[in-house]
């Protein structure tokens, strides 16, 4: 009867189990669950990562999860970071206290803005990325990664609330 396998990141992170009302609701939207996983894979492990490596994507995602008070999701991205053989330097990105320098600092500054204060974004924030040598296509990749995480984090938070108040 279930239309979802339950092994996608969102269902697993929210802890939704067969038999629960939230599981039935997800099963009725099985296509959306599958497409959500596909967007996760496209943002984190694209075939052509451009100038933003899989390791950097995972490290930024882990940072965003921590900035949004979701340590369990951060652990998922820490695992992806190890899978991508992240260097010690890239691993530091995952720590919200780390600000970095040069290109890394620019990636982090945009990420911290988009993930916690998107309403404050202005033209200067994109100029700062360009000045750090980040090209237009990579700016879009960075924005999509941040934007996907904002969606995923809220979907998981909402599903957890559905279960708590079930």
């Amino acid at each position: 009867m279930s239309g979802i396998a339950g092994n996608d990141v969102v269902t697993r992170q929210a802890g939704v189990l067969p038999g629960e009302a939230a599981h039935d609701a997800l099963a009725a939207r099985a296509e959306i669950v599958a497409m959500t996983q596909a967007t996760h894979d496209a943002a984190l492990k694209p075939r052509h990562p451009g100038g933003l490596s899989h390791a950097e994507r995972a490290a930024l995602a882990s940072r965003i999860a921590r900035l949004n008070a979701d340590p369990a999701l951060a652990e998922h991205y820490d695992a992806l970071m190890r899978e991508a053989s992240a260097s010690a330097e890239v691993e530091r990105i995952a720590d919200p206290a780390f600000k970095g320098s040069g290109r890394i600092a620019a990636l982090i500054a945009y990420t911290d803005l988009a993930s916690t204060r998107p309403k404050d974004a202005g033209p200067g924030d994109i100029d700062a990325l360009k000045q750090a040598g980040i090209g237009d296509a990579d700016i879009v990749r960075l924005a999509e990664l941040n934007a996907f995480l904002a969606y995923q984090i809220r979907l998981i938070a909402g599903l957890k609330l559905m279960r708590e108040q079930g």
Binding site: R29, I32, M35, P118, I139, A143, Y151, G158, L161, Q165
Partner: protein, 200 residues
Amino acid sequence: MSEALHAFTTQVPEWRPRVKPIELAEATPEQLEALQVTPSNTKVSDYVLVLANDVETLKVRSPLFNAIMYGRGGLSRAERELGAVGASIVNRCIYCAAVHASRYNQLTKDETVIAKIFADGEEAELDERQAAILNFATRLSRAPSEARPEDMRRLRDAGLSEEEVLDLILSASLFGWANRLMHTLGDPIAKDGFDSGNGR
């Protein structure tokens, strides 16, 4: 050059990119394929041409967007738009708020709800079901999320089914995504003959 808009409006502005859209003439086969599955396939907007810079994400994101906003059953289309508007006012995405507020108005043929939301934000006085939806969407849209069990209970007390609750979570969350693209990668610009000083 026209000034960027900073006040909420139901008149859909233009969107001026801050990064380079791809050139349609130079698009790869994968980009052309991704561009076809966007909602506006007759005329490709600068926004979609900007997103085509990350074609792997665009290709899967467009069908996801359509499924969440237009999929059959569950929450009404107008109430999904209300979820989108809630996220867009928290994230101050003027462009997204304009598009989805005007869709809400078209679907409901009632402009008073959006007028109240643009005037009073999250404090707008709405009927209980609308208020519960706006409350949940705005609280979920904070970073970190500030949605609490009592906000979820309010949705159920207002009569939302489990399927409707999930659709609201999806539409509000999806606009956490859309707002971050629209609001950081470009500016909303008044169209000609449009009063930008009084967008409310």
